[in-house]
Assembly symmetry: C3
């Protein structure tokens, strides 16, 4: 796709070359994200972070990514606006708000609302999550993380072996990640879920149509024995008919250091879209994994910053100007690396 001036609404817009282009730009921007350098390439540009549903981490991640390129951020954090309550159309909201910024990152509780907004917007719009539908920058940061983790292990996204664990039915994260995996070659996917929460058949068919090997299971330990990545997701209690059933599955899909050591190959990477639950008996990933260097969950959020910088740089067409606006960082950054 041509990135300059385009919306980024869905992973369906992307071909393999587009994904590789985004990742190549992210690699170039990594020194800026990690504070080894800084750039003012977007000085004077304005991001409208229009979050019509609260999401501190995604909102701050988009905003910080824009700041790291030198730009300013104007934002909103919820349906605070009486105008919307008064029955204004998304068309009008988009026409007005798109006059105030150079690019918009938008979250909305309703599936399809971001695309409807984008159709009326006069500036490019990045979907920051629209209900159960899409959250493309999350899928991209997940795949970017997979690529980087595997590169350090002499492997690649092609021929990836990945187990996805948990609620595969409602999790938009794993759906979008599967769509992106269809752009690559010979992936082995193990889908581990309660039977009520299996991956939608259409996505399984897409994976197989892409030539990938798909296995479905409801048992964690055997499923994670021969994979490069364990991608864990939250299982929400309310998905089950009874508390007893919910407790049964939670216990069965909980990963801790002991299970990891006994069942996984050495250096198997652990991922999660976050937040993970920290309440007793509701954990997907135990705290005793926090010292495991293969726990990549915070490298994922760090990579989110880099990937979002790449999207902004591509969409606003400043990739080749980043270095000429670069200077060194002159303040304390000692403890920053993750």
């Amino acid at each position: 796709m041509e990135f300059a001036g385009s919306h980024m609404l869905s992973v369906d817009q992307l071909e393999r070359g587009d994904v590789e282009r985004i990742f190549a730009v992210a690699d170039r921007l990594e020194p800026y994200a990690r504070r080894r350098r800084r750039t003012r390439v977007l000085e004077g540009a304005i991001l409208g972070a229009m979050f019509f549903e609260p999401s501190t981490r995604t909102r701050v991640s988009f905003g910080s990514a824009f700041n790291l390129l030198g730009g300013e951020v104007r934002e909103t954090t919820g349906f605070e606006q009486s105008a919307i309550a008064k029955g204004e159309s998304l068309y009008d909201t988009a026409r007005v708000l798109s006059g105030y910024s150079d690019v918009i990152a938008m979250r909305h509780p309703t599936a399809g609302a971001v695309a409807e907004f984008a159709a009326a917007s006069r500036v490019p719009v990045i979907n920051g999550g629209d209900g159960s539908n899409e959250h493309p920058s999350q899928a991209l940061l997940d795949l970017y993380t997979i690529g980087r983790e595997l590169a350090g292990r002499g492997r690649s996204i092609d021929r990836l072996r990945i187990a996805m664990v948990g609620d595969l039915r409602y999790g938009r994260t794993v759906h979008s990640l599967c769509k992106l995996l269809c752009l690559f070659d010979r992936v082995q996917v193990v889908l581990v879920s309660p039977s009520e929460l299996r991956m939608p058949e259409a996505i399984v068919e897409d994976l197989r149509a892409a030539g990938h090997e798909v296995v479905e299971s409801d048992a964690l330990e055997a499923s994670i024995a021969h994979v490069d990545i364990v991608y864990s997701t939250r299982i929400q209690e309310e998905r089950f008919q009874s508390q007893a059933e919910a407790d049964l599955y939670r216990g069965r899909f909980r990963l801790n250091q002991s299970i990891y050591t006994r069942h996984c190959e050495p250096n198997t990477v652990i991922m999660h879209p976050l937040p993970r639950d920290s309440r007793d008996n509701a954990r997907e990933l135990d705290d005793d994994l926090n010292d495991n260097p293969n726990l990549a969950i915070f490298r994922q959020t760090d990579n989110g910053l880099t990937v979002r910088m790449a999207l902004f740089a591509l969409i606003l067409d400043v990739v080749d100007q980043v270095e000429e606006h670069a200077t060194t960082v002159n303040w304390y950054v000692g403890g920053r690396t993750s």
Copy 2:
């Protein structure tokens, strides 16, 4: 008036020369608002956007206007502050908050609160709306839009023919606009409203005292036949004694493309302070007007950015420094023009 260091609380502060000065500065700043150029003239300055009542679009418009001049924005979006709940006076709030910024844009639900705040503030304050009272930057952007739309048609604010339609009793927008029109010559004003919602007599008298011609009516179609501008406003259901009466008037004041074509002169400009209602049977301006090039409602909000930039530049006394801090825009701005 002397703008440097002054508050902007009410259109009553302004003489004709002041309005023309603001508009001349807005014209000079337009290339910066539209991204043909950028300037860093206020780099390091801080706007305090103190919105004690939510209003996404006005808050973001002020903030973006300040960013477009190179400044930073600190803001609040509601009565989040326990201090106010604890009974702090506006005097104290103003003394404290005015120490944190170089200029303040403030919205407050109570009429007169912004003036009370400004009296204690140590920096200039711009009224961003205080209840039913004033919203001077809205009146200025409306008049600025009228001037620009008419200039393209070989006409001017002097000798303007305008129809104001809807709730003329409670709408602070039309009240302030009438006050500004009193500064100009030989305006013809047609006031179209339900009898319960007529323009306050004092304002009608002001218009007549200024030498303007005023006609009152409760019929839309005849009233818009010979005007340059149709300025439509929202009629709120709760203003009427019965739903039946509300429905009657809503239907009667609704403008759509068919009525426009049959009754208006060619190129009659359509304006609205927004938001317009998008619910069936509650529309003031139908969606089928969206393709009408004379629908100026989004040019109004765009002009709001420019007018607010002009107010900041005048009050902070940097008008003559804008160009020397200017550079070119180096990112994608393709689809931005409205």
Copy 3:
């Protein structure tokens, strides 16, 4: 202490030399805080203002302080984040959010939460208030104000005579201030409170162990006769068993101009952590003190800006670079001095 890269969680971290270092840096930064100069020393740096409890003035003060050094601010204003509601640990929140900024200022309703967050953070954290526990930048700005006010009177923090008035039991402000006073010499402290709201015994003992003279009283007028500073605090009604008792004490501890003139030495300084109550019969400091030049309450909040700038400059290790990134202020600042 070594400031570069350190957290600032509690006044207990500070020795006398540390306090003097902070104040010396604040003195150097004062021209920038007061708009006589500006600096871009932190251009490109990002502050994460993570306020998980609303506090407009503290949040804006931290944000403006960072802007005044040239940096950007990303922030949140409450528990808007569904992630926390879903049971995420502070450890995870800290790991994620600390990847998005160079330094964090955090407020949290729970005592100890900021320290727990800081332990997992990858960047320095400044405590902006954690429940009843600590608010070190408030204590520092109070002591800095005392030092500046006294310097103009030929006196100093050593040998200070101070009356603390009001709720001394629950007020974290006076507790932290007492801890800092223990670092200085021969202070005379008069503690004026209802018997139910006396200063905790441990703090009184600390003051005496530091060689200070402590007198406790429940009568205002005699207690303020021979002091340099009257530090007044709010008494909350709900602390008392009956309304009658609350009214009794409120009346007894209320300071106004008449009492000041009759009982205080000339030029006795009046301080208060703010907000002060403006409701009739609930005032600690009457409005008729507003014209008294010894009322230092707004100089306190102004000094808060300067002290927070100093903390940022020390923690991010840019103190010696401030001047080389300095320029002159080019906009209107006429009425700014307090």
